[in-house]
Symmetry: C3
Subunit: 468 residues, 3 copies
């Protein structure tokens, strides 16, 4: 694979492949709409050069370093941050060579495709990456990063990003977003409302967070009504910085719709730090329904990202902290879990809830049937471990027949890895083109309809679903 | 897709496609055996014309109207019945146009295939359906429906239906079945015994139902022995109207084999209306084993259809009642659940139990291993949300290697949508032909065996499994 | 299928098929490494002829006789052993004819492929097996079995087996392994440490087993420290007979890491026979962590084979005993279950744990994410009901993108059916070649890399993972 295969991810049958390639050609150059991700707004605000290749491609990418760790490479040797904020190995070139020696471990993974795509399309490197070429890649990428056309805003423009969303806590002052706005740069970088620190009684410093939350909002958030009002105020503030959505990463999809007195009592327990684990979960579940009610009023789209057992390894959490590859999916129930919210507000056409899953078995069994009837529900794309060719194929095969295309919302990249954004959207457009071509070849969709749906999946549905 | 693609659902590889087409040609014109469904026996009894196109294709088909509802179309505007028996919109043409405007939502779904097939094969309409052609379709179908050759009996014959089964409660007097029999029409329409109203303590009016049940049967069904005897009597009566099977749609696959005293005590609690939810479930589970015992005596095949959380939306249930698209599959356990019944009677070769699922994960993990060893167990086909090309393909791929072909029972259409019956059987025959052709192409089955298995899957297995 | 198709299991697209065939050709003749199975060491020790064809192919193979039983053939008529050690039918030819009459039931199953492969490749029979050829096959195989070149050691050599592992209890004296070693025969047959009888408080005769265990080891195994010491001693003894692994077939993947006092207390309850079911399960779970600690010291690889509900049918267990086809997979959780062991020792690079599953849903959701980050974890191949073309394909499709190839361990045949060993490895090599060819055709892997990975999957990874 010295060069990327132009027909990658298309069906192998020649005539179906041709049709897929034609469909893909019709969407390849559409702008990128990235409604959910974790790029750092500071990049676009300061527009400083990215540091060395290792810090661009290795140390922040848990897809990459967890795979090397799984084969015995130490995170310290890869320069991955420790929980105390230090790094053991800081020599970028040394890290890069270690990465190159172990690059073969990524064979068959999407990370390999994203990296090869980034090397070739972003940096013009079309040789095979590996131990023999490691230094050449390192030098070339380093040189590029020093050029103005590789600064964040230039790449943003070159990638064809129409709009990108970052994720911030209500306690965030959105200073980088303000700085972007004030800069006059026309790139559209917007925020999303992620209230975990003030919604989850088990979050570090919950009571203090709520107090600070009230201060920022100008209400007394330690009373239930003031607390809800603080949410309304901060949501409105986030909307000033473009927000069109909120995001919620609870461990489960549990929702509740408690009577007022119970909600207030739980809130007081949460502030007092006396919630049992189940009470904390009940409170989080109730807050999803409160958020849904606010969504009906202010129009923010509600995203639910459940199902990860976070920080699975206690010793690794102690040593290296969060987001180090130890978030493991678990079985997730949606049918029972979502019923309280859906009974309360689920048939209100003003509400829009986007559901994600890390449990693929839910697609055909629960999520497609739910999204195929509730007007408030839409299905987020194949996510995280399933942001991959096979994951995307299975997503279409297990959702389309019951929920159709129009209860799905296009593609989310959900990434911190800036250079992988075009690669990820490219994979999605290729896999969807392959799927559509297969439907046409097997008489399940007319060719002209396939072209229309390809536009929908690549561009129109995401703008509509996220109100962008 | 102005016209149906003659090669639809066949593999795309040319030589495998040719083999699939040849296999399909060998089964395409076999009679339809429809052993489980929900067509109305009154149609065949009275042989009255079907009403307008909207009432034929839209208002009774929850596959169709739930998809439109999921995108914000109101059920009232589609003329869907309210729980109080009224309809808000009654103008068939208006409903039809709304349906046509939203027809694109069905892209990629089996409903789209069934509808296109019905339009073309039943009504000779081979243009694309949509807003531009809505009126023409409406007028043409309306004219057809006024003709004698579009009355139920004529369509039954034209569809090549050898036998069709409807589903009735033990409280039903089978008047339509009697009328069919008395009419001298040779079409074979038989009933199936579905005792939910007198077996489920949580069914509306359970105690009254049991009392009425006894009256009809001529026993005192409020005593345990009289109750069992009433079942035996009604099963015998159903057999007079052709019944070869009973059907049970419990929420789970739970079975029990209680000591007599416990069964009697639960029955009395059920009549008194004092069962806890768990006791009600225990009783239902025990009754499956009682039904299995009766099956050994009278030969009725026992069908278990578990796994739907029925009427998921409380407000929609209140407004529109049952069967409006709000039945959502849930995880279903079979291994533990079926053990009591199987320990009691599962190795008796006179017993025949057909298992269905809405949880596809059970196919390879539980159902194929169970059916691959217990002589009483057979696997029903891909059901409901999985009555689809991908669902059927996954069914074969996840069951054949462990349970083989001969522990499966051919195809069930399970539908209320009369015109879709030939389309659904056609899809099944195509998908099975594609699967068999793929086995031959990959050296897993000899070509002559594939032709034999194709006959089995399309015609012979269903007749044998349902004793038809 | 008079003869095996040379291109069986390859993709149907011609150019991808050619690539798969070339990849397969590069690994077809590699030695067989069989690190986990259930062949009888006595065969290799005594090197006696195998008995008649029925006893070779039918009565010991639960894949075969359960399928016939599922269609009403009695186990007695197939000569399957009863729990009391007797056989009802002992006429091999009669059993063989019954098998032949029902051979069609195996269409589409891996057993059919293995049997056809064995008939053709081992016995040179390339006609179709069935009622017409039953006697000819019987006579021919009988004649072969009387020849020296069909004795176990000769077949072992002809099959190209480099090393094969059997499984023994710590209570086993390894006499057959000693006899093999003393014979001077160079075939490498090694043992594996399977301590269920002395680790599972619910095993028949647990307390007596532990006592005997101590006697054999020369320690007092009725004290906690003596018990652990006995394990260390017997593991060392097993290593003398080549053991490189231990094996654990618990019903679940539960692990525990108890404080010493709790472990001791549970052990004493276990010896006293007073454990509740949950306490027995806790003890088994704790012993996995103890075994892992010993593995760090002595290097034995730890295999976990969870997820079967054993002996599902109580009446069949009473009549025919264990291993008669009534082991049914159940849902298996790994994320919570493995956490105690993983928190204790999971990031120690000296530890190697190989995980198996009978619940395919765990592959993409739990097992690939776990193996893709923990350095101690590797994924065993598709197992038992999934030791099949579709099972293997799904294994690769659901694990590679997250765990890569290098967290998997090649193929295990796990069989008692000696003649099926080459057939099973052949299927695995074909399916992996097909998968790799598809990755190349779709631009996901370079061709030269595919050849390298093919070697890894067929030969190198298994040797490395099992330290062979």
């Amino acid at each position: 694979m010295a060069k990327l295969d132009e027909n990658r991810l298309f069906p192998v049958d020649p005539s179906t492949r041709t049709m897929a390639a034609d469909l893909y050609a019709s969407v390849r150059d559409l702008p990128i709409v990235s409604p959910h991700g974790h790029t750092d707004p500071r990049w676009y605000a300061e527009n400083a050069p990215f540091p060395d290749p290792a810090q661009l491609f290795v140390t922040p990418d848990h897809y990459v370093f967890r795979m090397l760790f799984s084969q015995g490479v130490s995170l310290d040797d890869l320069g991955v941050l420790r929980a105390d904020g230090t790094r053991v190995e800081t020599d970028g070139r040394k890290i890069w060579r270690l990465f190159a020696e172990n690059y073969y471990l990524l064979r068959g993974t999407p990370s390999r495709m994203w990296l090869d795509h980034s090397f070739q399309q972003v940096f013009g490197l079309d040789e095979r990456f590996g131990p023999d070429t490691a230094d050449r890649f390192y030098d070339h990428i380093s040189e590029c990063l020093a050029q103005p056309e590789f600064r964040p805003r230039a790449l943003f423009e070159r990638f064809g990003i129409e709009v990108i969303t970052t994720t911030e806590s209500p306690l965030d002052d959105l200073r980088w977003h303000r700085m972007i706005r004030d800069s006059g740069w026309p790139g559209r970088v917007i925020t999303a409302y992620r209230p975990d620190p003030v919604v989850d009684p088990e979050f570090e410093g919950f009571a203090g967070n709520v107090e600070k939350f009230g201060e920022i909002a100008g209400t007394d958030a330690t009373t239930w009504e003031g607390y809800l009002q603080a949410h309304r105020i901060r949501r409105a503030y986030f909307k000033e910085f473009g927000a069109t959505s909120s995001d919620h990463g609870h461990a489960t999809a549990r929702t509740e719709n408690l009577p007022l007195s119970e909600a207030v009592a739980l809130f007081e327990k949460a502030l007092a730090g006396t919630c049992t684990p189940n009470e904390a979960d009940t409170f989080r579940g109730h807050m999803l329904t409160e958020m849904a009610r606010m969504s009906i009023d202010d129009g923010l789209v509600l995203q639910i990202h459940p199902g990860a057992a976070r920080n699975h390894s206690a010793p690794m959490m102690a040593l290296h902290g969060r987001d180090k590859g130890f978030d493991i999916p678990t079985r997730t129930d949606y049918v029972t879990a979502l019923k309280p919210l859906l009974d309360a507000v689920g048939t209100d056409p003003r509400l829009s809830v986007i559901l994600f899953t890390l449990d693929e078995t839910a697609f055909s069994r629960e999520l497609a049937p739910l999204a195929g009837v509730y007007p408030s529900l839409r299905l987020g794309p194949a996510w995280w471990f399933f942001d991959s060719p096979e994951g995307m194929r299975r997503f279409r095969e297990t959702t389309t027949e019951t929920a159709g295309f129009y209860n799905t919302v296009g593609f989310n990249d959900d990434t911190r890895a800036f250079c992988s954004i075009p690669a990820r959207h490219d994979v999605a457009r290729r896999v969807d083109s392959a799927y559509l071509a297969t439907l046409v070849s097997t008489g399940r969709l007319a060719e002209d309809e396939a072209y229309e749906v390809a536009q929908d999946l690549s561009y129109r549905l995401v703008k509509k679903a996220y109100k962008l």
